[in-house]
């Protein structure tokens, strides 16, 4: 047999095998890695065909829903990781915050809660010269495995007026009977962006300051920016996920309790739990192998010295995230359980977003709280069981009831807006105020 025949035969067999896999094996429908539904086969219409969109979508469907997609995707990321020149001197990055506050208050009771109300930019002095690269989707990956940290670029300048307007409208609606608080949660980018790529991302502080300045005088801003800065040398943000770590939420809750004038317990009153080997959303977003190779511990805290009961009203949502049905109130666990290595560890808190969560605690102080939040806010209620007798957690994307009625029916005394800065920056006031009239 001539060599050309051997060549043709081997390539043909290999090609045929792959073709058969692609054409006959079940197609992938969901990507664990990217946390998204994959493209489905497009619906046909004559207009779509004429515009060229039908064929384009067929091609996209074919490449997006490839069998064993995530395996190929991982291989692709590994290959892309290989083309970098490995530099050993910058393997380890350590980030320490400059914990000396620029403006020391006189004899503070708790350094966390001190300050003159002016937020100052945090000067993280070490680790700011770490290696950084820009990966897919505007993600900056700092450092190498196993300590890489993925940061989302923030493009907002000022902004957030709609968010402030929403809080103002709530205050105007409910008057003096209900306290309204506004919390804007920065992301890790604000604290850990190496100096040399700082120009790539805008300061979140300008947005937060703008929002605070637009609030009515009787809406209380909750400055979590400063307290998170004080603790930025601790693992307050997840390295591989876009969310904060439960510890960051703990400090934010502490600040909130202080502003709200409710009791608050330190971490000694909590049972520490760990999910090992967590790699979060930033792996899929950044498509960078260094992130996959930097698993971290997902550490969360369960209150142990207080009784609490959790009730859920679960929403069913369709593929466009529209609510199609709601369940009867059913009791459940506030903390869901995930195994080591699960990429879903952040869902530990209430198991996700599409629901109303009602926590009834043994703290009989007459204070009843609504948290209107996105997924960042999910980490907060666990720390507030010692502070409020009822905590209602409402996701602003999924709420079908009338807020006025809800507040009255449940004798709510406090409403906390707790959103991350990305959302707060661009959200329209109507996103929240529509709840008042629906």
């Amino acid at each position: 047999m001539k060599t050309n025949h051997i060549f043709i035969t081997v390539v043909a067999v290999f090609f045929l095998a792959i073709t058969l896999v692609f054409l006959t094996f079940p197609r992938s429908t969901f990507s664990e890695m990217e946390r998204r539904e994959l493209a489905s086969f497009p619906e046909y219409s004559h207009e779509k065909l004429a515009s060229g969109n039908f064929t384009k979508e067929v091609s996209q469907w074919f490449s997006d829903s490839e069998p064993y997609r995530d395996i190929f995707m991982t291989l692709s990321m590994q290959l892309k990781g290989l083309i970098a020149l490995q530099r050993s001197d910058e393997d380890a990055i350590t980030i320490h915050a400059d914990n000396t506050p620029t403006a020391q208050a006189s004899t503070p009771v708790d350094p966390d809660l001190s300050g003159d109300g002016n937020m100052d930019e945090f000067n993280v002095t070490e680790g700011r010269d770490a290696k950084a690269k820009i990966a897919s989707n505007g993600i900056i990956v700092v450092g190498n495995a196993p300590n890489a940290r993925a940061l989302m670029i923030y493009g907002g300048i000022g902004g957030g007026d709609g968010y402030a307007a929403a809080a103002n409208k709530y205050k105007e609606t409910f008057g003096s009977k209900v306290n309204v608080y506004c919390m804007v949660i920065p992301s890790s980018t604000e604290y850990y962006l190496p100096e040399k790529v700082k120009g790539k991302s805008k300061a979140m502080l300008t947005t937060i300051k703008n929002i605070h300045s637009k609030l009515r005088s009787d809406v209380k801003p909750v400055d979590v920016y400063t307290i998170l800065g004080h603790h930025s040398s601790e693992p307050i943000f997840l390295r591989t996920d876009h969310h904060w770590a439960p510890l960051g939420a703990f400090y934010a809750a502490k600040k909130f309790a202080d502003v709200a004038g409710v009791p608050f317990k330190d971490l000694g009153s909590y049972e520490k739990k760990v999910i090992h080997g967590f790699v979060g959303t930033m792996y899929g977003y950044s498509k960078d192998i260094a992130v996959k190779n930097s698993p971290e511990d997902f550490v969360f805290y369960k209150p142990k010295d207080v009784a609490y009961k959790t009730t859920y009203i679960n929403y069913t949502i369709d593929e466009n995230y529209n609510v199609t049905a709601e369940s009867k109130p059913t009791s459940g666990e506030l903390f869901y359980t995930y195994k080591d290595g699960s990429s879903l560890a952040y869902n530990t808190f209430m198991g996700g977003d599409a629901k109303i969560t009602q926590v009834r605690t043994g703290t009989g102080n007459g204070r009843r709280l609504i948290i209107i939040k996105d997924s960042f806010g999910n980490a907060l209620p666990g720390y507030l069981c010692y502070s409020f007798e009822e905590i209602h957690v409402i996701d602003s994307r999924y709420f079908t009831k009338n807020m006025k009625k809800y507040v009255v029916d449940n004798k709510i005394t406090d409403i906390l807006f707790a959103n991350n800065v990305f959302k707060a920056y661009s959200v329209k006031a109507s996103h929240y105020t529509d709840f008042l009239k629906q």
């Binding site: 997006d64 970098a84 690269k133 790529v197």
Partner: protein, 496 residues
């Protein structure tokens, strides 16, 4: 559809192979039936056509599907162009007086160029008129994929027939096959009609053809997916962002990355086209010959996009008088047109004229004393000019073009920013591989192995097979991985 698309690789290609082989089998069966009793060995043109009827039909149908996949409406424009050229060709074939042939040619050329102009340059003309203060609406005509390529092929057909370098294609299907053939339809090479005229109805494929064609196709796939697409990410990062944040070093890294990207993208496409052609029994002309080894811009243009260069040489430059009459004018006409061909935008015209000017200067300076200049210096000069040329090529927005070059020549934020330097480290092996592979490595390695294993033919063949096979399988596997969920995968040259 593009070659580096999983749908093309694993749906279109397998379906095509199966039906093409079925067509070839039917052709063989029928040929045997018709050939009975014909012992002369000579076959008539009609019989030759019949001998390839089924497989050509399959090729035409798949070519139309291939084109319609991206241009479901403009496929009819392409069919219209083929009809016109068929009629004009037949008209020329029947005309025995030269003047009448010339009349037919003029009509044909005007229709082809008018089509190209309407669909490619009308928006640009309206923009120019608006800039002159006239109130002209934007016609908003979208560019049909590959129109520059198939119109140029049509022109080459008409001119070749006019010059009697070849006879007219008497079968409409034959001409449709020539113009629409999917391997070279949307991004070249610009295959001259005379190159493939015979093979349309008379071609043979050997195992060598298939093995070489498959290998060539896979090499092209690797060039595109493994090298060009990854370099494209670098270009986007450096060149598509806010240019005021760019450092001077970053601007140069971006230009070099784009120069390499466009080479691997376009030559990869040509390799895939030539490879598929080879498997079908067509021998397209080469389109690239390691352009980055050039020691002058004159040499670069003999090695880069050769099918376009020879087209302009044979159909514009020489008929205008070449070097015999007003050479300077001829050179500038050709380079103005070369620039224009790439796109309806000032930067492409500037890019063409840039090369025109340099070629003229080169002719009177460097080329006369090149033997006295060290080769390394000449090489550096040529590459630097080409890289800057691709800087002009990249930015079709004039403000950005100006900002970019002011950054490249000292106006950057700093000499080399941390982020820009990081890109070099992050893509280090990619840059290195791209630079090495732009050199004629393959020929060198083949010559070396031939010399080392001159007396061990069996070993040489074995080694060659092992290398080819492992390259092929690795490229295929890696390309599949890189193509999952890939965006920005279109070939750069399909927009021209």
């Amino acid at each position: 559809m593009v070659f580096s698309d999983l749908f093309f690789l694993f749906v279109f290609i397998p379906a095509f192979i199966v039906l093409y082989m079925l067509g070839a089998w039917m052709d063989r069966v029928l040929h045997r039936k018709y050939a009975l009793g014909d012992s002369s060995g000579e076959i008539s043109e009609a019989a030759a056509r019949r001998r390839h009827a089924f497989k050509n039909a399959v090729l035409i149908v798949f070519s139309l599907i291939f084109y319609a996949w991206g241009e479901p409406v403009y496929v009819f424009l392409m069919l219209g162009v083929v009809v016109v050229n068929y009629l004009v060709g037949m008209g020329m074939g029947r005309a025995d007086v030269k003047n009448r042939r010339r009349l037919w040619l003029t009509v044909g050329v005007i229709i082809n160029l008018a089509t190209l102009f309407s669909f490619k340059y009308l928006n640009f003309l309206a923009e120019i008129l608006r800039d002159c203060g006239l109130d002209v609406a934007d016609p908003k005509i979208s560019l049909p994929i590959g129109i520059s390529f198939y119109i140029f092929q049509s022109l080459s057909y008409l001119v070749d027939v006019y010059r009697r370098d070849t006879g007219p294609q008497r079968s409409f299907w034959g001409l449709l096959l020539y113009i629409s053939m999917f391997p070279q339809l949307i991004a070249g090479p610009i295959v001259r009609y005379s190159t493939v005229a015979r093979e349309i109805h008379d071609r043979r494929v050997t195992a060598d053809d298939i093995a070489d064609g498959v290998f060539r196709f896979l090499l092209g796939l690797g060039k595109k997916v493994i090298i060009a697409n990854q370099l494209g990410e670098v270009c986007r990062q450096l060149l598509d962002g806010n240019l005021h944040d760019l450092s001077t070093g970053g601007a140069w890294i971006g230009m070099i990355a784009f120069s390499l990207q466009i080479y691997f993208d376009f030559s990869g496409y040509s390799d895939m086209a030539i490879g598929i052609g080879r498997c079908l029994g067509f021998h397209f002309c080469e389109n690239f010959d390691h352009p980055y080894v050039s020691k002058s811009i004159t040499e670069f243009w003999r090695r880069w996009h050769m099918s376009l260069g020879t087209f302009f040489r044979d159909y514009v430059y020489i008929p205008l008088g070449g070097s015999r009459r007003h050479q300077l004018v001829n050179i500038f006409v050709v380079w103005f047109l070369t620039g224009m061909w790439h796109g309806a935008s000032w930067n492409f015209i500037l890019w063409g004229l840039y090369f025109g000017i340099i070629l003229v200067i080169e002719k009177h300076t460097i080329l006369k004393i090149k033997d006295k200049i060290p080769a390394a210096l000449l090489h550096f000069y040529a590459v630097a000019i080409v890289v800057m040329g691709f800087g002009i090529f990249y930015f079709d927005d004039f403000t950005r073009l100006r900002d970019f070059f002011s950054v490249a020549f000292g106006g950057g934020t700093e000499a080399l920013s941390f982020a820009d330097k990081n890109i070099l480290f992050e893509k280090f092996w990619l840059f290195l591989a791209a630079i090495l592979l732009a050199a004629p490595l393959r020929g060198g390695i083949a010559r070396l192995s031939n010399r080392l294993l001159a007396n061990h033919e069996v070993t040489r063949q074995g080694v060659s097979l092992a290398v080819r096979l492992s390259f092929s399988l690795i490229i295929l596997l890696v390309s599949i991985a890189l193509l999952v969920g890939a965006t920005n995968n279109a070939f750069l040259y399909t927009r021209f």
